[in-house]
Amino acid sequence: MKALYFAWVRERIGKAEEEIVPPENINTVAELMAWLSGQGESYAAAFAHIKTMRAALDHTHVKHDALIQNAREVAFFPPMTGG
């Protein structure tokens, strides 16, 4: 699936997007974040404050316990500051 990162999540990881292949036992957004945080120092830094982090599946905001199922795109970002 495609993973997108925004704002300081993008800066810490050092890329805006990538193709990821999570293991089959990853079912929820929270599990995906935990798995990603183990993918290296930059990922650990980006996912250091998981509680405050927001996620979206296929352009829709989701909670951390949401099931990934067949989502094609996942995005991680800090709380939004638009307007």
């Binding site: 925004f6 979206a56 800090p78 939004m80 500051t81 638009g82």
Partner: protein, 154 residues
């Protein structure tokens, strides 16, 4: 009759008065038109500009969702929502929300709802660039904005 909804996400600036005139054009059933413009302030001269990042695709979809919800909550004649991204200098507009209805209550309420929603749910992030140094810092989400958005869910 449904509200006319126009949503745009763009780098270019916009003319709020022209957008309002366009929304009202040919529609003689509008009794109230509320227009809100959010501008980039210079924070007492300290700020060089704001860099606004957005999630292309989702930004437009999320604002449209908010506009549709506003139109379902209040009897509106029209909605315009424009949000910019990229580098924005002090004094320049960032966001525009225009709501039109037959009476003022609905237009005021819908505009307020849309702005509260845009602040907390639309995928945009602001980075401050100061005059004093080259580094930027990400604006942190405010609890006050979150509370303002939550009150519509009560």
């Amino acid at each position: 009759m449904g509200a006319r909804i126009l949503v745009r996400v763009q780098t270019e600036s916009f003319d709020g008065a022209a957008e309002a005139a366009r929304l009202a054009q040919g529609c003689t059933n509008i009794g109230a038109l509320v227009s809100f413009t959010g501008l980039c302030r210079d924070e007492g001269g300290a700020l060089a500009g704001l860099e606004i990042e957005h999630y292309p695709g989702m930004a437009e979809e999320e604002i449209t969702r908010a506009a549709l919800e506003a139109a379902s909550r209040w009897p509106l004649e029209g909605i315009v929502a424009v949000h910019r991204y990229g580098l924005i200098r002090p004094g320049e507009p960032i966001v525009l929300v225009i709501t039109a209805s037959q009476h003022r209550f609905e237009a005021f309420a819908a505009a307020s709802f849309l702005m509260d929603y845009l602040k907390t749910e639309a995928p945009f992030w602001k980075k401050r660039h100061l005059r004093a140094d080259d580094s930027g810092d990400w604006v942190e989400a405010k609890a006050q904005d979150h509370a303002a958005a939550q009150k519509w869910r009560a």
